[in-house]
């Protein structure tokens, strides 16, 4: 007889979401729904009528961890719509910004993941904030990687959170020779640290997944070898940067994309029939609480060929390198494997960057209303922004955010896992839920769902 358990809110990721899980008597998930409960901001509607310079800056505010992804995707979507090619040095600065942000983001996710894991060879779970070794050195290294990433980002882009140097047509200004040297020095330091951190994290991840049992809130939970497995397939548009409708061979096909309301993919109204007060932290939702994922989910469900897909580090490694490790372990390891290229590729870009090169396109058209799209391979996956610009006003704007792509995929990946490990599966997607919840969802009576929730 199935029981329903709800974990709300989920922790150690960006934003607010919850897990509603139908489990069997052995506690194994038969069907799981992971849904966003972050309130809607309505950025896509705000954008209509604004100028194409304003919209990427508004879109950037969707998130404080990955503003770069939205700023770049938004700017490039505008450039794609007006058909504006930017100078090479501006491209290089954007690439440097992208890679710097990715380094900081992977490091941040390390902190969020570590409390699940054990110090290899012991039964001690890792507390990233402890002053004791060996963890303290790891924490310092993580913070230094983040500092390096954010400093390089703010040199290239004016500010590491909400970049201000990017503009439609390129960048507002190039960097000085001194700034290039500073970024180079930091990148070299970051590369050494990235190697060390990737090695440490992979060892810790493997150690965790090789165990037969893990501890969750004092409960001994079996660790399945197929934790987080799914066969929804992958979507990626570039090894580290992105693509756009201006490319000779765009790597995303808008005709294969569809979006559905969560009604199609989520479970309907249920009552919580399983409660576990020991579940960290604060226990699961109380018995008898009504829950309705179909109505409460605050994101749309984007699909490629009619099915949700996985986006993110593993998707990129699978698409471009035939990476073949599945499940939550495979995802997290793929993410660590992206550490080094943050700096290798950045060093290549710095080598090529000419501080005296122009960074603004000579001609920036006003736009004729054509549809343009641009994808940015954010740390969490493919971020596609779609825009129409006519006479320097935005007529249409849509954001298909990585975590939005992943919500239904992760839901599928929950099946077969012990329910206590559902959050571990979810964290493999490095969710950024605020990013995912930016659009208005309308219910069958065409009322705004967000409004209904507030009432």
């Amino acid at each position: 007889m199935s029981k329903v358990v709800e974990i709300s809110p989920t922790t150690r990721h960006e934003g607010h979401s919850k897990l509603v899980l139908k489990v069997n008597d052995a506690g194994i998930i038969e069907k799981g729904n992971w849904c966003s409960i972050t309130p809607v901001r309505g950025v896509e509607k705000l954008a209509v009528g604004k100028t194409p310079e304003q919209v990427p800056k508004i879109a950037s505010r969707v998130c404080g961890i990955c503003p770069i992804a939205h700023n770049l995707a938004g700017t490039e979507a505008m450039e794609a719509s007006i058909k504006c090619e930017i100078p090479n040095d501006a491209k290089l600065l954007r690439h440097i910004l992208q890679l710097a942000n990715r380094a900081h983001s992977i490091a941040l996710h390390n902190i969020l993941l570590l409390p699940d894991y054990y110090i290899p060879g012991t039964e001690t779970k890792i507390n990233p904030f402890t002053p004791e070794e060996p963890v303290r050195s790891v924490a310092k290294r993580i913070q230094r990687i983040r500092e390096i990433g954010q400093t390089i980002g703010q040199i290239a882009a004016g500010d590491c959170i909400h970049p201000r140097n990017t503009r439609v047509g390129g960048m507002y200004r190039n960097v000085s020779e001194q700034a290039k040297t500073k970024m180079y020095d930091l990148a070299k330091e970051g590369l050494t640290l990235a190697h060390q951190q990737a090695e440490f994290m992979i060892a810790v991840i493997r150690n965790y997944h090789n165990r037969d049992f893990v501890d969750v809130g004092g409960m001994k939970v079996p660790m399945p070898k197929t934790l987080g497995y799914h066969n929804q397939g992958y979507l990626a548009t570039h090894a580290f940067y992105g693509s756009s409708s201006l490319d000779e061979c765009p790597s995303w096909d808008i005709r294969r994309f569809k979006e559905a309301r969560p009604y199609d993919w989520y479970m309907g109204e249920m009552e919580v029939t399983l409660e576990e007060p020991k579940y960290p932290i604060g226990g699961t939702t109380k018995l008898g609480t009504k829950t309705n994922p179909q109505m409460e989910a605050c994101t749309g469900i984007p699909m490629y060929d009619g099915q949700p897909v996985e986006v993110g580090p593993r998707a990129r490694l699978v698409t471009y390198k035939n990476y073949d490790e599945k499940g939550t372990a495979g995802q997290n390891i793929a993410r660590q494997m992206e550490y080094q290229d943050c700096f290798y590729e950045m060093i290549d870009c710095l080598d090529e960057l000419n501080p005296n090169g122009k960074v603004v396109a000579d001609y920036i058209p006003d736009g004729d209303g054509s549809l343009g799209w641009a994808s940015n391979e954010a740390p969490r996956g493919t971020d596609v922004h779609i825009a129409r610009v006519k006479d320097w006003k935005v007529q249409y704007y849509s954001m298909l955010v990585p975590t939005t792509w992943n919500f239904a995929t992760c839901s599928a990946a929950l099946t077969g896992a012990p329910w206590q490990l559902a959050e571990v599966i979810m964290r493999g997607y490095d969710p950024c839920v605020s990013c995912a919840t930016h659009m208005i969802v309308v219910d069958e009576e065409n009322r705004l769902v967000a409004q209904k929730l507030i009432q």
Partner: protein, 308 residues
């Protein structure tokens, strides 16, 4: 002396020992020499100064980004720039009696310019702004710790560009293009032409061109600079220098040890500190009246007093 001169560790009359700088400098060449020395010795890795449009034409990437009027021909309009060499400092040397928004370049100096140790020159209000940015870094993330040397210049009031334009081209009947140097001293506004002409206007004439916002300022000698300097109090060709902070003291001592400046005790020179104090008090008294007037100006609501 009272609070009108701010806090200072020492005060001297000084002049640079570099004859080349003296050709371009306003008075003693203090700012140019200090920044030149600081750049050479690695105390700073770039200085924000008031350059001009000629400099902008040759080095646009070193200047502030502002698309408003760079195509217009505007001789003597100051353009904030980040400079790194003696040649660039010389190109930016000399007082422009105009508002130069140096603080607007401060954050960018730590970003696209990649500086870690910034030198900045500015008027008393700009020194106040720099210190505020260090104490309350809203919009100035990671900037405060990068200020390695802030040099303040004496200031009674500043003028908008159009004010100087009219003073020089109408009142003094000279083309701005033909002006080699401008100076305020001995109660007059002096304009020196490139071909040797000298025109002076009584200061009274300049009063209506002053920037109105200056009339609330109670700081004549840049109380908040690491080092503050100006011509008042020292003989022609020399400058009065106040060394104020630990940073200022350290830099000045090093510069003195390296023979960058020759100095005279301020007590020995004419007109001396008495004149500086007199003018400082005049400014403070005059502007305090503006502040008091503002308290009852407007529809039942006082205009802001920046000092409370």
């Amino acid at each position: 002396m009272g609070a009108e001169l701010g806090k200072y560790k020492s005060c001297v009359s000084a002049r640079t020992t570099d004859k080349e700088i003296l050709k371009f400098s306003q008075d003693g060449g203090i700012v140019t020499s200090l920044f030149g020395f600081a750049l050479d010795t690695g105390i700073i890795d770039g200085a924000i100064v008031a350059a001009n449009k000629e400099f902008y034409e040759k080095n646009p990437s070193k200047c502030i980004l502002d698309n408003s009027n760079f195509e217009m021909i505007e001789p003597w309009r100051p353009i904030p720039a980040v400079v790194n060499t003696k040649a660039e400092l010389l190109a930016a040397a000399g007082t422009k009696y105009n508002i130069s928004p140096n603080v607007a370049l401060l954050k960018e100096a730590t970003r696209a310019f990649g500086l870690d140790k910034i030198g900045i020159v500015g008027t008393p209000c700009q020194m106040q702004a720099v210190r505020k940015a260090q104490l309350y870094p809203i919009g100035f993330r990671d900037v405060g710790a990068s200020i390695a040397l802030a040099v303040g210049i004496f200031c009674m009031e500043n003028f908008p560009y159009q004010g100087i334009l009219q003073l020089v081209e109408d009142h003094a009947a000279m083309k701005l293009d033909a002006v080699k140097k401008m100076e305020i001293g001995k109660g007059k506004f002096w304009v020196y032409g490139k071909r040797g002409q000298v025109v002076s206007l009584p200061l009274k004439v300049t009063h209506k061109y002053e920037q109105p916002g200056c009339h609330v300022c109670l700081d004549y000698v840049a109380n908040l600079g690491d080092i503050s300097t100006g011509s008042v109090g020292s003989p022609d060709g020399w400058s009065t220098v106040f060394v104020r902070s630990k940073i200022g003291d350290s830099v000045w001592a090093k510069a003195m040890a390296a023979g960058v400046f020759e100095t005279q005790p301020i007590e020995k020179v004419k007109p001396g500190l008495e004149l500086v104090t007199k003018l400082a008090n005049e400014k403070i008294t005059k502007n305090k009246k503006t502040l008091e007037g503002r308290a009852t100006f407007g529809v039942g609501k006082a205009l802001r007093n920046p000092y409370i």
